[in-house]
Symmetry: C2
Subunit: 113 residues, 2 copies
């Protein structure tokens, strides 16, 4: 079951067992979303949306974070006035061992081409 939103400030997330490979790959299939995932992986902790500088409008950036959240790639929580984002690494590594690391490695290799 999708975790129900208990207030307007709680954002819906798929439970771990609801995360689907095709949706995860779709979420990762965009250069801006790959950049978000790379930054979150490099940081290893939560970052606010504005901590990650993307060459897109704020509404496009919000859209990309939402696609990542709805696919189960990131967890978004409000902390005070900031929306914080963290990679769901434990869930993803548990479901699909090696996938996230292979994508991050591929991204690093591509950036060197």
């Amino acid at each position: 079951m999708t975790t129900p939103a208990v207030s307007s400030r709680d954002l819906p997330h798929p439970a771990r067992e609801e995360i689907r490979l095709a949706a995860v790959l779709h979420a990762l299939s965009d250069p801006m979303r790959l950049r978000i995932v790379r930054e979150l992986a490099a940081d290893g902790d939560e970052l606010s949306c504005s901590d990650i500088d993307l060459p897109v409008t704020k509404s496009t950036s919000t859209h990309h974070f939402r696609v990542l959240r709805e696919a189960g790639v990131v967890r978004q929580v409000y902390r005070g006035t900031a929306k914080m984002n963290g990679l769901r690494r434990t869930d993803l590594d548990g479901l699909f061992p090696g996938l996230l690391d292979a994508v991050l490695d591929a991204l690093a290799r591509e950036s060197l081409r």
Copy 2:
């Protein structure tokens, strides 16, 4: 440079160095296309489009093979009257080591859930 089509029976493919991670992940982000890739990986050789039984119309199936070809995931060649498909494993493994195997492993795990 994209390999130019020299006749109407030659299909355009991205050269190895033109293959982009985001496009590959997009091509893999669909359950039918994942199924095609799984069958080609399991077979290890070329298969015709009709060798892979998908629960979709022929035109949808053709579309899925085309997305995979244009992203650089499969190579499609005419042999007589059949359009044959092979996974571009050497190219993908060279560009993105471990990625294809991680996706195939994730797919196998998901099918057991």
